[in-house]
């Protein structure tokens, strides 16, 4: 634990009714370059502001070198921030800007002068002391902002999308320089960005966030090669994401073909998401391919061609290849086992208990009360004891959103429940929504568009409800840890 410089423990934060950070726990090691990566609104900037002290978590604790700093105001924390819009003081010249923090510490002027000079050398802007911030280019201003922060020798430097306002070429240069700077100074960097390439280039550790929840923590290569869920796979790099079935260990079926793969530890015939990177698909003659497809389009992207290929099952594959195949022609595709990434699908896991009907004929099909849906549901409870507590698994895509409210109030055994839509997200071809039904929140994939706060009626088909004994339960954890 001693090497942790910052620990975030069970942090939650809401603005009004919007929960921006949900029970986030994270540690940051000394001297590492850690990146918080995610789309806008994922809570990454709020997390950074909680570390700098500009936001107070609603609950949870922030530890700095093991000490609780929850109640410490920003100016007393040993962290410094490089702001997105530079935020240089326009009324001061560059020297005064960089000296600001040192003046507050009441350092002797000679020492301030030495340190400012060193900081300017570090960002390669020596001789700019007398210039005013608005006479500098964006890139230069950003360097001054960095110099102004690191001159205070913080233990942790927080960077909030510092390169967001720079053009592509300058951004790439600054990425390399920032990484070099971090190595040279040994300061712990916590970097916020929505740019996955930036994160992959610079980081020691990447934390992928979405909707206030950490999706995956890992080294850049791990995040790229082994995304834990469809969100991470989509967010990091281009990818083909298909629905598949895990037939047994090291064998899965998708796109109408059985593929050898490198994954195991799934249940028999478990539904999974399959990720294949566009550059991992080899284009061969149709007869030599594992599967075939017709090229729909081909675009030259500089180093490679990006082709869209439709396989017979209708899936649109994205393929990167250095050789072009004319649109309209048929190709074969070969995918190596190690290039197939299998991901668990986030199940709804609920607690239920068995209520067996009195009628002997109904022994096999009985009710399972799922905690705490408003109504009991019917399911196959063969092999379970009456009043036994069980785990109930329901796939998000197996829950149907009914187009209208049923004619009569749902009752036990209809397998219809109702709830209020809490969150709503477009996933590319369908929507992922969460619905609060009674005391549980159900994750639902649907093609129908709903609104947040709307009451929806959900039908859970009897044969799609999987019941497992408590002790057999394998922990299904979509966080991957």
């Amino acid at each position: 634990m001693s090497e942790h410089i910052i620990d975030l423990l069970n942090i939650t934060k809401s603005y009004g009714d919007t929960e921006v950070i949900k029970d986030l726990s994270l540690y940051i090691r000394k001297n590492e370059f850690l990146t918080l990566l995610g789309p806008s609104g994922c809570g990454k900037t709020t997390t950074l502001r909680i570390i700098s002290g500009f936001e107070k978590p609603d609950s949870g604790r922030v530890l700095f070198n093991g000490e609780d700093i929850n109640d410490l105001p920003p100016h007393k924390r040993k962290v410094n921030t490089v702001f997105q819009k530079y935020s240089l003081f326009p009324n001061m010249n560059i020297y005064e800007n960089i000296a600001f923090g040192l003046r507050i510490k009441k350092l002797p002027e000679a020492e301030i002068k030495k340190k400012v000079k060193a900081a300017l050398e570090l960002v390669e802007l020596s001789g700019f002391e007398r210039r005013k911030p608005d006479s500098l280019s964006g890139g230069q201003q950003q360097r001054i902002a960095i110099a102004r922060a690191i001159v205070n020798e913080p233990e942790v430097l927080l960077l909030d999308e510092p390169l967001g306002a720079l053009d592509l070429k300058l951004r790439k240069e600054m990425q390399v320089e920032l990484k070099a700077l971090q190595r040279k100074t040994g300061i712990t960097f916590v970097y916020v960005t929505h740019d996955q390439e930036e994160a992959l280039t610079m980081s020691d550790t990447i934390v992928v966030m979405n909707q206030g929840v950490i999706q995956q923590i890992g080294k850049p290569t791990d995040i790229y090669n082994e995304p834990v869920n469809a969100f991470v796979a989509r967010f990091i790099g281009d990818s083909n994401i298909l629905s598949g079935v895990m037939l047994k260990d090291y064998l899965c079926e998708f796109a109408g073909h059985r593929f050898e793969c490198a994954d195991k530890g799934f249940e028999k015939d478990e539904d999974v998401d399959v990720v294949v990177r566009p550059e991992d698909i080899k284009v061969v003659a149709p007869a030599d391919g594992m599967i075939t497809g017709t090229v729909v389009s081909a675009l030259f992207k500089g180093v490679h061609y990006e082709m869209i290929v439709v396989s017979p099952d209708g899936f649109h594959w994205k393929i990167h290849s250095t050789q072009i195949t004319e649109p309209g022609s048929e190709i074969g595709m070969v995918i190596k086992p190690f290039d197939i990434q299998i991901m668990k699908i986030p199940y709804n896991i609920l607690t239920g208990w068995i209520i067996k009907g009195e009628d002997i004929d109904l022994v096999d099909i009985g009710k399972v009360n799922v905690k705490y849906l408003p109504q009991n549901v019917n399911a196959d409870i063969n092999g379970f004891e009456d009043e036994e507590t069980v785990n109930v698994y329901i796939l998000p895509q197996d829950i149907e959103v009914l187009p209208a409210a049923p004619v009569k109030e749902p009752e036990d055994g209809d397998n219809i429940t109702s709830g209020e839509v809490e969150t709503f997200r477009y996933k590319g071809d369908d929507y992922e929504i969460t619905v609060k039904c009674g005391d549980v929140v159900l994750l639902v994939h649907t093609y129908s568009k709903v609104n947040i706060g709307q009451t929806v009626y959900l039908h859970i088909p009897e044969d799609k409800i999987r019941i497992r004994k408590r002790e057999e339960v394998v922990e299904i954890d979509d966080q991957g840890n």
Binding site: N91, N93, N152
Partner: protein
């Protein structure tokens, strides 16, 4: 656009400036240095000389300066925190409080001053009639919004990130104020001071109504014009005094402007 059309477009502006600024100013100068009598017009420096050398006139001028400085300082002490308070309010409340502040301004200046007069005379809440305090209260009451608004505007323009940046670098409330808020609101302070100091220096209605015992330069000029204007000419001494006052105002304004510019070039934070 050619130069000709540009000039043509600006003609209304030029006419306005000519008719309402340049000609009246020239007329003041003309009345100050020419004597109009039934016998004819002749040049004289007598009124100007008299205005410069008369000790009583200087007394009135000094007194006006004193009152204007005190009133401006009181406005600043009251107005700066008020502007800060305003800028911190959420938008809806801010608009409402700004409206409350401006509401009295929509009433006639004279009516406002008469209303104030009834509050601070023999039958009012406190009797300040005929004191300088009454004049200062009258000026502050009438001119405070002119100081608050420019400061408030410059405060609203401060990027919140700059305040956070200062805190992030270890600045407490005092450091943030001295290093960021005060220097960035200085242009607002200067224009606010200009907007208050000059009217305070020249007003005659407020001292007339609230303290008619002693002279200010504004009252003096008014008195000269009212008592010495004849069928042939306005008061030449009044015109001379106006001319001197105008030069004093120009000097004050150029000092204020210089303060503003100096700040821009120097900057910095001495703690």
């Amino acid at each position: 656009m050619t130069k000709v059309t540009k000039i043509l477009k600006n003609i209304p502006l030029y006419v306005w400036i000519l008719v309402f600024t340049i000609i009246p100013l020239l007329m003041i100068l003309v009345y100050a240095v020419f004597e109009f009598t039934p016998g004819g017009v002749h040049f004289t420096l007598e009124p100007l000389k008299n205005a410069v050398t008369n000790k009583q006139y200087w007394g009135a001028m000094l007194r006006s300066f004193n009152l204007a400085v005190i009133s401006t300082l009181v406005c600043l002490v009251l107005g700066y925190p008020l502007a800060y308070f305003l800028s911190q309010l959420p938008e809806k409340k801010r608009n409402f409080v700004t409206l409350l502040m401006l509401l009295p301004m929509w009433m006639n200046f004279l009516i406002r001053t008469y209303a104030l007069m009834s509050l601070i005379d023999e039958e009012g809440i406190v009797n300040l009639k005929g004191t300088d305090a009454a004049v200062v209260i009258g000026m502050v009451y009438n001119f405070l919004p002119f100081l608050v608004l420019p400061i408030y505007t410059s405060m609203m323009k401060i990027d919140r990130n700059l305040i956070e940046a200062a805190q992030d670098l270890g600045g407490n409330t005092f450091h943030v104020f001295k290093g960021v808020i005060l220097p960035l609101t200085l242009p607002g302070i200067i224009s606010g001071i200009t907007m208050v100091f000059i009217p305070c220096l020249t007003t005659f209605v407020i001292p007339n109504l609230l303290n008619s015992k002693t002279w200010t330069i504004g009252r003096l000029i008014e008195y000269k014009f009212m008592s010495e204007t004849s069928a042939y000419s306005v008061s030449s001494e009044g015109a001379a005094l106006s001319f001197i006052l105008m030069i004093a105002v120009f000097i004050c304004m150029s000092i204020f402007n210089k303060l503003d510019k100096d700040d821009e070039s120097a900057g910095g934070l001495a703690l």
